[in-house]
Amino acid sequence: MDQTLFIVGINHRSAAVALRERLAFADDEIVAALGRLRDSSPAVAEAALISTCNRVEVVGVTSDPAGAADETLKFLAADRSVEQAAFADAIYSFAGRDAARHLFRVGASLDSMVVGEPQILGQLKLAYAQASEASSAGLILHRAFHKAFTVAKHVRKGTLIGHGAVSVSSAAVALAGQIFDTLKDKTVMLMGAGKMAELTARQLNALGIESLLITSRTFDHAVALARELGGTAVPYDNYKPYLKMVDVLIGSVASTKPVLDPDEFESVVRERRYRPMFLIDMGVPRNFDERLNALQNVYLYDIDDLGALVQRSLGDREREAEKAEQIVELELESFLKWLRGLDLTPTIKDIRYSVERLRDVELGRHRGWLAQLEPAVRDRVELLTRGLTNKLLHRILSGLKQRDDKALDAAFAAEVARRLLGAEFDAQVHDLHGADDGDDDDVDIE
């Protein structure tokens, strides 16, 4: 018995992408790979494989964590055709409590590159589904993964870890959502050819906008991008008449002085009848005069404003992560308690001992006439009684050890045994625990 979780893997912190990609598995390879892992690794009783851009991990169950880790390493090396030496340093390996904690932290997105990002939970669910499909997930992995999902849910509900924009472009998109009720009837204009500005325009465009105007000093560039995104290219020397239609203006023009003049822009605002306007300045030097922010219903954010928002929400996430860690620890205790509960070793020992002792007592009572028997016959009687008790024990213990979703909790099993075997059992338990100071009901997990 004494089975426990183990994890062997690499992630974005322990290894660069150049190594991670060599160990990675494609989604459709995983079920077959789990089969090969099981065939090649006798110490691994259950296994699942998580492979994402940021991590490759084998999560398994074993009664020999060191052996299982070793076999898993060999499997990864052989299966991915990478010499073990190439990645041995980047590998981390956890067993017992640490492994369970790691799994829960991964699921709760605490181990992610961007803490709180939501994709990892889906990836974990996929890994679990694949392990189920490969029939390599058993009682403990099922429970461990479900617990990880529960932890993730609690963290998501109980903390703000997934909140706040964590990139400049997503901060801009989130701000647009605070100004405008819908983007469906809005016109976005992209000025210039900056990468970040283009990314922001792409994100807004993907959310569904009324129209996208693109203007750039290099007209060909504007035309090419407009064609790709389904927008309209506007010549750079004639974009001003379009401004009154624009709700979101993204600037990243290479220019030493602001391209929009506040006085001139005020008439645009008036012509727009003061409908709100969101100006995103991604140019360095800045494209839009700061004073534009003071105009009625005009909201100007430059690259530093957006950066500050990102920094703040990253800071918020870190603070929330501390709360999440506490949730993980709490759930970890409950999982470990369950796992310890699976350990029936002491009860089995007790049952065996008390049945044996019943036999001894009975044989003792009949010592008188047994002594008068032929030695050969006496041996037969002895054998007969032993056979009876063994048969009985086998029935009882195999029922007890049944490892499916009806698996008995250890405390419950001990209670049942105590009731069925009565005083005899109590006496044995007392003897045993008096004689044996080893505390057997601790799974090898600490």
Binding site: A171, D181, R273, A308
Partner: protein
């Protein structure tokens, strides 16, 4: 405290608790208590409805026989309409302003509420009473809600302008555009109700006293308010004024309205004063 129905106290308690929870959420920047606040506000509306019904049955008409009753009726309609907006338009954030306004109005009303039978003066017993008063109070309700929305608008607007936006508390918050549109609709409905109240009042006055208009303080102030709100709506239709300017003006007009509602009723006696809103 002279409160002669069983329902006023539970209603007050619910409103107070709800207001407390809304304000707590607003200050802590979370939404943990919002669900409870909404439910308790709803319970307050139900208790309050029992109270109004009891008083109405006693009077044989809608319970607006005096200023206190009119204020209580206004508080109830505000709570009800506010609740509808919170639920239908996902505007929990206005709860922190609507619920305190309700508790303020109903608290004042219950202090002034007289016990025993309130007898409506004979000339006022008319089919026009419920029509005229309900329209007027509905109009006021819209203006209370518009003011609440405007406060929220100004708060959000200043955060966006000063670049303090995007905190976790702001996620799921209504956008400026949405708040502005709701404010505009509330102003429009309020203005329409106010217009109809004035017209129905004039018809009723003509039927009772033989003249449409007598330039008493309440009437004059109502006309002033009507003109001001007309101007506010006009500015949006012609120049396109909206957003911060509209929200600020909504609050200015609302304070004029409060002065008229409270001041005229308490200070100037007349056929409105001391009787109903």
């Amino acid at each position: 405290m002279p409160m002669d129905t069983l329902w006023l106290l539970p209603a007050l308690a619910c409103y107070a608790l709800s207001a407390g929870l809304f304000v707590f959420d607003r200050l802590s920047g979370r939404t943990q208590a919002t669900g409870y606040a909404v439910a308790i506000l709803g319970a307050g509306v139900v208790f309050h409805a029992f109270d109004l019904t009891a008083r109405g049955l006693q009077a044989g008409n809608i319970p607006v026989a005096n200023f206190a009753q009119a204020l209580s009726f206004l508080a109830w309609l505000t709570a009800l309409a506010g609740l509808a907006m919170i639920v239908r338009l996902r505007l929990a954030v206005i709860g922190a302003f609507v619920a305190p306004a309700v508790i303020l109005a109903l608290g004042a009303a219950s202090l002034a509420m007289s016990s025993g039978h309130v007898v409506l003066p004979a000339p006022l017993r008319s089919v026009w009473l419920p029509i005229h008063v309900t329209l007027a109070i509905l109009g006021y309700t819209m203006f209370v809600l518009a003011a609440s929305v405007s406060i929220v608008y100004l708060a959000y607007e200043s955060r966006l302008k000063s670049k303090r936006a995007l905190g976790p508390a702001n996620e799921g918050a209504p956008s400026l555009e949405k708040l502005d549109r709701i404010n505009y609709h509330l102003l429009g409905w309020g203005f329409m109700m106010l217009s109809l109240a004035i017209v129905s009042g004039a018809i009723w006055a003509d039927a009772t006293w033989g003249h449409f208009w007598s330039w008493e303080p309440k009437e004059s102030w109502s006309l002033v308010i009507w003109v001001l709100y007309a101007g506010l709506l006009e500015s949006r239709l012609t120049i396109g004024w909206r957003g911060r300017r509209t929200a600020a003006l909504t609050l200015v007009l609302f304070s004029v309205l409060v002065v008229s509602f409270v001041g005229v009723n308490l200070i100037f006696p007349g056929k409105h004063g001391g009787s109903f809103g």
